[in-house]
Symmetry: C2
Subunit: 236 residues, 2 copies
């Protein structure tokens, strides 16, 4: 099966969680909007399409058009060998991915607390307040949660669920990368208290498919159009 | 199967999306935290539990403990007759529920744009700005999306997917109820442009299980501790 990923071509954004899964698995896929006339093709299954997604990313897989990042990962997981096939484990991995998606929204809203349609510069004052709350309260809470899950995984594998890497591990890796880019100062302090999460990060980065991807031009550099943005004034 | 729902006993909140599904189906369930010593029992499967949810609501179903509202609905759907069993339709209904969950976060963040751990009064100025953006831009966008999905459902059933009601229809009903409570002025104008969504709302409210539930003391009234809050200064 050749998968078609539809997502903005200039940012990692939410699409990156899907790209990482496809790349780790060595799946056959096309990043549609990065090709010729890409931006025009991005809306192919939006608008009048009966089961149109509300927003990208969405994945075309044969006759299926699947929207919502975590939903795409839920679909791909067992097909790419990145989730077991049994329902209990799939639900748990999906639950972890949804919690990571909640964290991601909060990381985004640090620089856009008032409205996603406004520029950062139009909500800079509010962003400073939200950043202070995010770094003081939310970052420790989420890190503590995932450290605890890693510590209590009965398989003691170093992965979030069971004995093998899943889409949730790849998503946690991406969260760390993004948070390091956006908040290097705050993360240097925070990482010291999250050894299990950091060990997971290293293992993901060293995987053959991921290492090759990160070193390739397919990995779009972080920038200030994406979800994770580095504004030094927010990183106190 | 007797289901156990774990959620805050004083608000509708996210738990209400699960309650509506259980009530519509006439399922056997216990709303654990509304019983004796309820608040203490709320944390039973949090903390040290190996597959602890990050937050409530969570559902206990036999040996399974399932967190994340949309994940719970994804699990319950086919079991309660509120989603078909085939993968394509389940993915689509889940996608709709995840989009409704995104909308819900935005409705919440209107009154808490800076931090969920702060009081509304501490972020009232920012809330006014966010409310203006939400009502002007986000409310029309989400309403337009769901109106379009209802209009283009090939089954022409008046439901979001296929010929029968699903968990997504119940969730859309709850969004309308919450938004009417929080923003009565804005909604009076908006509803005129969303006839299909309003017709769906009426049909859900008239269902036997839902009508009985809404008239019962099990339906917690909306209040200013929940996700949907009525602050007149935000409803311009």
């Amino acid at each position: 099966m050749r998968y078609e990923l539809y997502y903005w071509p200039m940012v990692q954004g939410r699409g990156e969680f899907v790209r990482l899964a496809l790349e780790d698995a060595g799946a056959d896929y096309v990043d549609v909007a990065r090709g010729k006339n890409g931006m025009g093709r991005l809306e192919r299954f939006m608008g009048r399409y009966p089961r149109a997604p509300f927003a990208s990313p969405y994945l075309r897989a044969g006759k299926l058009v699947i929207g919502q990042t975590a939903n795409i990962l839920h679909y791909l997981g067992p097909r790419l060998g990145l989730a077991p096939k049994n329902e209990a484990d799939r639900l748990w991995i999906h639950q972890l991915n949804l919690t990571l998606a909640d964290w991601l929204v909060e990381a985004h809203d640090v620089h856009h607390p008032i409205g996603s349609g406004l520029y950062y510069e139009e909500q800079k004052r509010e962003a400073k307040r939200r950043a202070a709350d995010f770094l003081a309260n939310r970052l420790p809470k989420f890190f503590g949660y995932f450290e605890g899950i890693l510590a209590r995984n009965p398989a003691r594998s170093g992965w979030l669920s069971g004995r093998r890497l899943s889409t949730a591990d790849l998503a946690l890796f991406q969260m760390i990368e993004g948070l390091r880019y956006a908040f290097p100062r705050a993360m240097r302090r925070r990482e010291k208290k999250a050894p299990r999460t950091l060990a997971l990060r290293e293992r993901v980065a060293a995987r053959r498919g991921i290492a090759a991807y990160l070193a390739s031009p397919r990995r779009i550099p972080f920038n200030e159009y994406g979800i994770f943005r580095h504004y030094p004034e927010l990183d106190r």
